[in-house]
Each structure stands twice: as structure tokens, then as C-alpha cells.
Subunit: 376 residues, 2 copies
């Protein structure tokens, strides 16, 4: 998608393409980031670009643990944390650690399309379950889908692409269900929570951490969105301090970080994010963008659930064929992604982490498509 | 090894442990690196921490291509280059791209032990061949070992752990042999050249690039050693511009960079190394360290080939059991690595990319072990 946008921009002129197809945050990192980076570069630590332990700098892992303790009320230590090359790196390390050939991993559509590749990389089988009309996992479907081969369930809240945020009650019931199925089959099921968008959450909502509801939970996340550093590949894996397989998991995460060739999360960024665990980009600005685009699209007749987090919305496609509709929008120079890329045909994803000019410029195309298909 | 060294340093005191076990360069990056990093941080490019194309910034790939053109006399373009998360990342991407289940990959012992894990990650089978008494690949053994299932041969010159540098003549004959076997079996065999130590080369030797001798060659390397940035995970894949599968390979490298969860090489480092392609740490300093340690060890009676590159030496173990000998040295607080970790029992690896105090301090332990086993 990145490449496609670049080609169309060359063809039509940068200002005539309204690229809402990728989650590449337009915001620069917060000022605290620039200050911390400058401070480090002007006062370099000896050896600050060298190898460190594969799990990452103890000081950085301790800082992540302290912040998680604060957010969850559960006591984390550096021994529960492995620094990772972004959420993509973290997920590959976790999946390689826990999966045996043929193990099942359950995800809920719509879901981030790379999960399928990541699971496949390590011999697992993806099992895609539906969500309800508000994009919430259906627990009865989950109950029916879990088998003795189920090794993990991946959730992603705030969700890419729907923007849905799971409630504490849902997570609690999910935890209960997983415990029940664990004891029914005599297996262990890991709850992998992809929290890349944890800090991008609107309307005063409070994020309900999975850790309070399930011991076998593993969080994977990054500073790609909260510090606007997607290109820097800095994130982490955090496991529940009371997870029953804590030491084996830690050993596995470290081994797989090494042998998958990551070796370690980038050193300089580990130094920088150490003191920025409490910092986040301006969420209010993303909320403003959401309100602007949501308001306009709904007014034009598009039908969608109002996103509560992340920086995507996932309207219903006015055409049954979402690819055809995305092609239609492309004719008006508006780039979006068909829902089938997320396992949910009949929808399309709009990314609004772009500058206001792009958002404003996209409205004409959305409007023409709405008129063409008689949305209002 | 990193963790073991840290534990012993806590136990015996930092200054009483002579850790020659890891390739973590003691040198700080060259002054040009610090200047370039400072320049960028003080004059940030807009969006310089955002996602870019998975292959990396076009400007950085063009800079790498220009430097390679200069070094090899062959015309590279950015379309022959994919930026990678270090050599470990580069190798995983290449192997995932080219390997089918059960394909054979040939390496020559002694070899970097992670090759086995990397090949195994992607369904390949490692085939380890011996080298001669100077650690040079034996081409007759290679000729006998290649089968219709052979997909690649990995070479690593300057070699970790032996410090051996392959001659242009050897590489030429290797290329001839691979071409012959390709046409004999009607297959394609890739020559993967791990050149992490390409710039660390002594005695006025000139590095013979593989590209001049074999079209199906792929170079994987990093700036971990030449710019002393091992923790930053910045390197690249370069393929021969006339490789017959160029477009398929490029597509595969990009896909695998994405789906293995690397996504892209760290952004800031891509910006920094763009203008540093011609810069290298002080090789003279490493040569001084080599001369110092080599001279002393040989005088004590240790037997070894004088390394011509990288920053390791690989002496014969005075005990047949190299693990027992490494344990012996550890009793004198000198940390090294048994040769069997590199597929070559009966040797041990000494890493001399450490400060002079550590090198000097290690001599007493080497001396006591030499005396105990009557080396002189």
C-alpha cells in the first residue's frame, strides 16, 4: 500500500492523492522524545550502541515494568519484560516460542492481516472467528471453536481496523471462558493482547488491562503509535508476573529474539524510551480527526460504528464487493483498504492519522461515491 | 555468553574478569557517526521516524548501491538493495525467501553457530563441511556434497571465528564449481556471502567481492562492526544486479522483511548510515590488538593460524576436549568459547575486540593454562 500510494502521488501529484490507506501516523513524536534524544546524543553513554542482553537493557525493562505496574495495579519486574522490534517483532517471538506444528491460534475478524503470516511462520493454524455488529468477539462462537489444539487467542483492542475497544466486562468473561476451556481440555491457552493502540483511546474511556483477568496473558505492543515511532521498531513483550510458565516463556522469548535474527530491540531507542513510558502523543488531536471524518461520512450516509480508539474507522461498503468500492474511491483519488484484507468483506478501512488537509481533501471523493450509490 | 559474563563480573568484580567471549566491539562508533547523528537530531527531517517502504529509504539504498559499485566495479542500483535489521535479520529474510521445506544449505566449519537456527527457522537442512588446516573451504568436499536439493552455500569471510579471509582465487573457483553443479542438476544455487566483517581486514589485504565471480550471489552484512553499531540492528541485503531471479528475489525479500515482523530496518539509523558508507572504525587499532594477543599466545606455545580479518582468533585447544579447556581458562577468569560451538571441536575462540586492559589482564590466565598443559 505504501508503494501504491507513492506511485499514484507521482502520477497525480502529491496534493491530489488522499491516502487513507496506511497507519503511518502523521504526527511527529512528542516534544519529550526530541528532548530525550537530543540529551542522549549530546551526552552519550559509553557503549550505548553496543550489544546488550538479548532481552534488552535492564534499566529499560525496569522502566516498562514500573509503568505497567502503575497502569494495571499488578507488580511487574524487569523479568516479565522483553524489549522487541515493534509489535510485529514481539508477536513473531511470542508465536515462535509457544507454537508447535499444527497448533491453533484464534483471532477475531476484522483482524490485522499480518497475524495470518506471523502464525504461519511458526507452523500454527489461524482460526478466524466472527464478531458481533459492534465488532466485539462472540464468546459463544469462541467456546465452540476452542479445541485441544488451541494454543492461543489473539485480541487487539483498540482494534485495527474497527477502532473498537473491548470492555472490562468482555475481557473478564473471556478470561473465565479460557480458564474453563483450559481445565476442560487439560491444556494451556495463552491470551495474547496486541496493545499497539492502547494509549490512543477516546471519549474519556479507561483501558481495561487483560492482566487483571487472566494469568496466562502476554501483552505485545510498541511505541509506534503512542510515541509516533513506527519506523524505529521499538516495542516490548510483557507477560503476567504470575503466569504459570514464566521462566520457560522468558527463556523462549530470549532464545527466539536471538534466533529469529532480531538479536535485540534497537539500542538507541531503548535508551530513549526508558524515560518516556508516561508520554503519549496528543490523543485529543486524533479524536478531533475522528470526529471530523466520522461526522462527515455519517452525514453523507455511510454506515459505521463510531471508533473508540486507534486511528481507523471501518464503514460498511456501499457495494457488496468492497474491493470494487475501494477501486471506486481510488478513482476519486481517495485510497482506503478493502475489508476482506482484514477478514471482513463488505467493509472498508479508513485511516485518519493523516494531516487535516488530506482528510478535508478526501471528502469530495467520499461524497461523489456516496451520491453514486445513493447513500442519502 | 553475555549473561554469563555479567554474572561472573558481579561475582569476581568487573576488573577481575577478562571476557573474550563475545564480539561486542569495544570501540565507540567513528566520530563521523556522532557528527551525523547530532546533525540529524538538531535538524530533524519531517517524518523521519515514520514507516517507509519495507525495503528501506530509497536514498539510503541508493547510497549503499553507490558504495558497492565503487568497491566492486559492478553497477548496483537501489533496486538491488534491501535494508535489514543487521546481518541476522538479513539472513533470515534471505533464507525465508529462497528455502523450501527440506532444501539444503551448505556451510563450512568453523561457522557462526546461529546459521543452524536461521536455516532451521525456514525449513532448511544445514550441511556442515570441513575446511582445510588454514580454515579454507575444501572444494572437493563441496563438489561431493552438493545435491539436487542444495539451494544455497553460505560463506563468511573474514570468518567468525577463525579470522580467515578467502582469496580471490578461491572465490573464483567456488563460483566455477557452483555454475558447474547448477547446470549438472538443472537447479539454482545461491551463494550467500556474510560480509559482516568485510571492512575489518589486516596486513594491507584487499577484499575480493563475490559479485565479480558469481551471478547468483547475495551479500548480507551490517554496520555492526564497521561502524561499531551492533545494538542498533542496521544492515542490508545486496543481490547481484544480473542475478537471473532478481525481481522474484526482491519481491521475496520485501515480503519476508514485512511478514517476519521486521517491517523495516530502524528508520533513524537508515538516515544516519546514508552518508557514512565510506566510513569505518580504526582497523589499525584492531590490528594492533591482534598483533599483541597473537604474539603473546604464540610465544606461550598456543598453536593457531594468524587471523587476517574480523576480530577473533581460533587457536587449537591444548586439551582434546575444548569445553574442558575453556572451563580451565574460566578458572583463571578468562572467558572464551569452545570450538564445538562453531562446529569445530578441538579449538577455542578468542574475541579481541576488547579494551587493552582486558587483553593484558587475560595473559596471566592464558599463561597459567599454557604451563599447566606444557605448551612450551
Amino acid at each position: 500500500m505504501f508503494e501504491e500510494g507513492a506511485i499514484l502521488k507521482r502520477r497525480w501529484g502529491e496534493e491530489n492523492v488522499f491516502d487513507l490507506s496506511i497507519g503511518n501516523p502523521v504526527m511527529e513524536p512528542p516534544v519529550e522524545f526530541s528532548q530525550e534524544l537530543k540529551r542522549l546524543v549530546e551526552n552519550p553513554l559509553p557503549g550505548m550502541h553496543r550489544y546488550m542482553e538479548n532481552a534488552g537493557y535492564p534499566e529499560t525493562r525496569a522502566a516498562v515494568a514500573a509503568q505497567l505496574s502503575l497502569e494495571t495495579g499488578i507488580k511487574f519486574s524487569m523479568n516479565d519484560i522483553v524489549m522487541a522490534c515493534g509489535t510485529g517483532g514481539a508477536l513473531n517471538v511470542v508465536l515462535k516460542t509457544i507454537l508447535n506444528q499444527g497448533d491453533e491460534v484464534i483471532v477475531f475478524a476484522p483482524y490485522f492481516m499480518e497475524y495470518g503470516n506471523y502464525i504461519d511462520n511458526h507452523g500454527g493454524c489461524i482460526k478466524v472467528l466472527p464478531t458481533d455488529e459492534r465488532f466485539m468477539p462472540k464468546l459463544d462462537a469462541l467456546e465452540a471453536a476452542i479445541t485441544a489444539k488451541t494454543k492461543a487467542v489473539i485480541i487487539n483492542s483498540p482494534n485495527n481496523p474497527s477502532g473498537a475497544v473491548y470492555s472490562e466486562d468482555l475481557i473478564h468473561r473471556l478470561g473465565e471462558l479460557l480458564r474453563k476451556k483450559e481445565s476442560q481440555y487439560g491444556i494451556q491457552i495463552f491470551l495474547i493482547s496486541d496493545e499497539a493502540y492502547r494509549k490512543i483511546i477516546y471519549d474519556g474511556l479507561k483501558y481495561p488491562p487483560v492482566f487483571g483477568h487472566y494469568l496466562q496473558s502476554i501483552v505485545v505492543t510498541s511505541h509506534s503509535k503512542d510515541l509516533a515511532l513506527p519506523g524505529e521498531r521499538i516495542g516490548y513483550i510483557a507477560m503476567h508476573p504470575n503466569c504459570s510458565l514464566r521462566e520457560e516463556l522468558m527463556g523462549g522469548f530470549i532464545f527466539c529474539t536471538r534466533t529469529l535474527g532480531y538479536v535485540n530491540a534497537p539500542a538507541l531507542m531503548q535508551h530513549v524510551v526508558r524515560n518516556l513510558q508516561h508520554v503519549t502523543v496528543s490523543v485529543a488531536e486524533y479524536q478531533k480527526k475522528r470526529d471530523f471524518l466520522y461526522g462527515h461520512l455519517v452525514e453523507m450516509g455511510y454506515s459505521m460504528i463510531k471508533p473508540q480508539g486507534a486511528f481507523y474507522m471501518f464503514p460498511k461498503s456501499p457495494l457488496e464487493d468492497d474491493v470494487a468500492f475501494v477501486n471506486e474511491l481510488r478513482q476519486w483519488h481517495v485510497l482506503t483498504v478493502p475489508g476482506r484484507g482484514f477478514g471482513s468483506p463488505g467493509y472498508f478501512r479508513v485511516s485518519y492519522c493523516v494531516d487535516d488537509k488530506t482528510l478535508e481533501g478526501s471528502l469530495a471523493g467520499f461524497k461523489r461515491a456516496a451520491q453514486k450509490f445513493n447513500l442519502c
